[in-house]
């Protein structure tokens, strides 16, 4: 998939019509993630009950890739356990570094469309922002 296709087929929809871009009423976890060099700035909120992510949302601003990536991430992790969510995040991070297997990439569903970002070093941080932030909040609850 070339770059324009990636935007047309996946990124634009999630950026312009996100499912999860809103604020939760009483999130159990919340963390701000920022890419200072480009101004991507999101606040990720998760609702966690008995180690299960039962809901999630984000607010903020940034480039289409950062916003769409966060939206797709929430599609994937809502309904998963914290551990499962961390595993998915790990696969995503490795995909962006070109280190994930075909099978792993397929498990990412729509987010797999972002794999070409691995050839665009300047955009890697944008794609990773939501995932990095989720990884930090969940790991922050473990110690």
């Amino acid at each position: 998939m070339d770059l324009k296709e990636m935007y047309r087929e996946i990124v634009n929809e999630h950026n312009l019509h996100p499912t999860h871009k809103h604020a939760l009423d009483n999130p159990t976890l919340e963390l701000r993630g920022v890419n200072p060099s480009c101004g991507d700035d999101i606040t990720l909120q998760l609702m966690v009950e008995n180690d299960m992510i039962t809901d999630g949302a984000y607010v903020g601003q940034g480039c289409a890739i950062s916003q769409a990536s966060a939206d797709m991430m929430l599609d994937l992790v809502i309904g998963k356990s914290k551990d499962e969510a961390l595993k998915v995040a790990d696969i995503f991070m490795r995909m962006i570094k070109n280190e994930a297997s075909e099978e792993e990439i397929e498990s990412l569903d729509e987010a797999a469309a972002l794999q070409n970002i691995s050839h665009m070093p300047a955009r890697v941080k944008c794609a990773q922002l939501g995932w990095r932030t989720m990884d930090e909040i969940i790991k922050g609850t473990e110690n």
Binding site: D2, L3, N15, L16, S37, C38, Q61, I65, M120, R123
Partner: protein
């Protein structure tokens, strides 16, 4: 077709449009040949050896200094110090002149449109000396009023730091006038010429700059060579910046006497090959002529601004006058983040800059997070402008907005 284009090997690929000239300029073959020739025929450590190659290397290096002095209209070659880039030149001034001359309660006046390289060194001096940074505020098009200059530059001012041309808005500033105000209160003026020296004839005496800096790479020279001009009496009184080999007269176990300027400021083995490359770039730019450069850039900018104005949802920042852009056109597209815009243009092989352009205080003042910047040079063409505008017109659609 532009007659100078063939001088640039990288521009032979007609598929790519290079509109990021404010970041760095492309290099003509003569610059690369001059560097190769230095390494192939006269490479030796300059200023040290007593044999032929070292003497040749020294002569080429000092001839490059003469060339730069002449290019800037300096009185003497000893007023030219070679550095790595404009950033290092500005740091040298701050660490050496700034720390020796700024005291508690003094003020350093910095223009809000400055590049971070002309802000951070002054923040450092101000913090260390308990001095105050005072900001010159521009209007929305990037111009500074006389009133603002007269209000902010006062008897407390020690240093005025300002770029001759902003790397975001491209607006040239009346340096002579600002220098006169600075001098009338006993301050010195530090002029960042990184974006002016490649585009207009500079005369440091006519503008009465105390210090003037630029980077070789933005002027078609190699990366890694920069210039600091300082008035002889100022440089002469300044303490050294870096110390070590080459910059000394005499060294004992406890003490050292320093070499005369400019060598006092050039510690360690110098970058002779790239100084030679810069000299070749200066010869080249003179052969093109600033009249041609200015005229071509003005016409390309006018055309680009006109075509961009016709595209809905595009905002162009800075002066409405094309001549006050120095080839730089900074813009945004409604609803589209600059990084997405530049990725889409990249897919069409168009190179622009997106982000904060190392000028965050200005962007905060303009109330934007980031912008796109297309910056042209005399080797760009009208055809490239048309192709750029055509691609730009499609960006919003590519990013999912109905047109």
């Amino acid at each position: 077709m532009n007659v100078f284009r063939q001088d640039f090997p990288i521009l032979k690929d007609p598929d790519y449009i290079y509109f990021d000239n404010a970041a760095t300029a492309q290099k003509p073959a003569c610059v690369m040949e001059a560097i190769s020739k230095f390494y192939e025929t006269e490479n030796a450590n300059p200023l040290r050896g007593l044999y032929k190659w070292s003497v040749m290397a020294t002569e080429s290096y000092e001839a490059a200094r003469e060339k730069v002095a002449n290019f800037l209209g300096a009185r003497k070659a000893s007023e030219i110090v070679f550095t790595r880039n404009a950033t290092e030149s500005l740091n040298l001034i701050a660490y050496s002149y700034g720390r020796a001359n700024v005291n508690e309660g003094d003020e350093i006046v910095v223009a809000v449109s400055e590049h971070h390289s002309n802000i951070l060194p002054w923040q450092m001096v101000a913090k260390e000396k308990n001095a105050k940074l005072v900001w010159l505020e521009c209007d929305e098009n990037g111009y500074y009023s006389d009133e603002e200059l007269n209000n902010k530059i006062t008897s407390k001012t020690r240093i005025v730091a300002i770029a001759q041309v902003s790397n975001v808005l491209g607006v040239p500033k009346p340096i002579k006038k600002i220098a006169d105000i600075a001098h009338s209160v006993g301050a010195v003026i530090v002029v960042d010429g990184a974006q002016s020296a490649p585009h207009m004839a500079v005369n440091v005496q006519a503008m009465d700059a105390d210090f003037f800096v630029f980077s070789g790479h933005k002027l078609m020279g190699p990366m890694g060579i920069g210039v600091l001009y300082g008035k002889h009496e100022l440089l002469n009184d300044m303490p050294p910046f870096l110390t070590g080999g080459e910059m000394i007269e005499y060294v004992t176990r406890e003490n050292a006497t320093y070499a005369e300027i400019p060598h006092k400021f050039e510690a360690g083995t110098v970058n002779a090959a790239d100084a030679v490359g810069l000299a070749a770039a200066i010869d080249y730019i003179k052969s093109v002529g600033f009249e041609y450069i200015t005229e071509t850039e003005k016409n390309l900018t006018a055309l680009l601004m006109e075509e961009m104005r016709a595209i809905p949802h595009v905002t162009v920042y800075g002066s409405p006058k094309a001549k006050d852009h120095c080839g730089i056109v900074t813009f945004n597209i409604d609803g589209c983040h600059p990084h997405d815009v530049s990725s889409i243009l990249d897919a069409d092989h168009i190179c622009i800059r997106a982000g904060h352009h190392c000028a965050q205080p200005l962007l905060q003042y303009m109330n934007v997070n980031a912008t796109c910047r297309a910056s042209m040079y005399f080797y760009n063409t009208e055809d490239e402008v048309h192709r750029f505008a055509k691609s730009l017109a499609k960006v919003r659609e590519e990013l999912g907005y109905g047109s």
